[in-house]
Symmetry: C2
Subunit: 98 residues, 2 copies
DNA sequence: CCTATATTTCAATAATCGTTGAAATATTGA
DNA sequence: TCAATATTTCAACGATTATTGAAATATAGG
């Protein structure tokens, strides 16, 4: 993990709507959530959802599968865990979780 | 930790210069680093350092002490740890560190 | 007190980001 | 095939952010 990648991923999460979307996807787990459902949960228009999802996808934090005429999004937990590991190693100094 | 605070802190870290500054301050620990030294390390003008430091300070991620005509900055590790704890609890799902 | 040093504030500009509406693309089912 | 549904793309706009230079503030030391 280099600092550029960390910055891009932090930037993707550093926005109300996107962090909320990502949290929803984490909770949803392997089921994922469809684009329409995500948009209505976030109270944003479908095209706005598409915009924010693209940001998260470009940062590697989510992925999408097309099913019929729907798109289902999933959190990429490994990416998120790598980011948190980076923060723990570089920015926390002896922070013992739990 | 509410989502608004998390977003503000993530945004403060989601920028090359500021993440680098913060990492330097974490490494420096209790000694802190002066504003001039931070600016030259980051290859930015003093006023730019002042701008970015203010962003970090408003997010609660650093603090500053005035010593004579110098200003020394310190990482606020507790804030950072709280942010990482939030991410671990809400966005990582059973990520066991180490 | 005056000058040099250290940092911040202010203003201007360019760049990036977020939102909105309209149009385009693709898939489903009648 | 046609209409309806689901999502993305595109363009425009306003808002926020980052950078730069100039001026202001404050302290230290001669």
């Amino acid at each position: 993990m280099d600092i550029d990648l960390a910055v891009r991923q932090l930037a993707a999460l550093a926005q109300q709507t996107r962090l909320a979307i990502f949290k929803s996807l984490v909770v949803a787990g392997a089921d994922g959530i469809g684009a329409g459902e995500l948009a209505s949960r976030a109270l944003i228009a479908p095209n706005a959802l598409s915009f924010h999802a693209k940001e998260l996808r470009h940062a590697g934090l989510i992925r999408s599968d097309i099913r019929g005429r729907s798109v289902i999004y999933f959190a990429e937990l490994d990416t998120m865990r790598a980011l948190v590991a980076y923060l723990l190693e570089n920015c926390c100094v002896g922070f013992d979780v739990q």
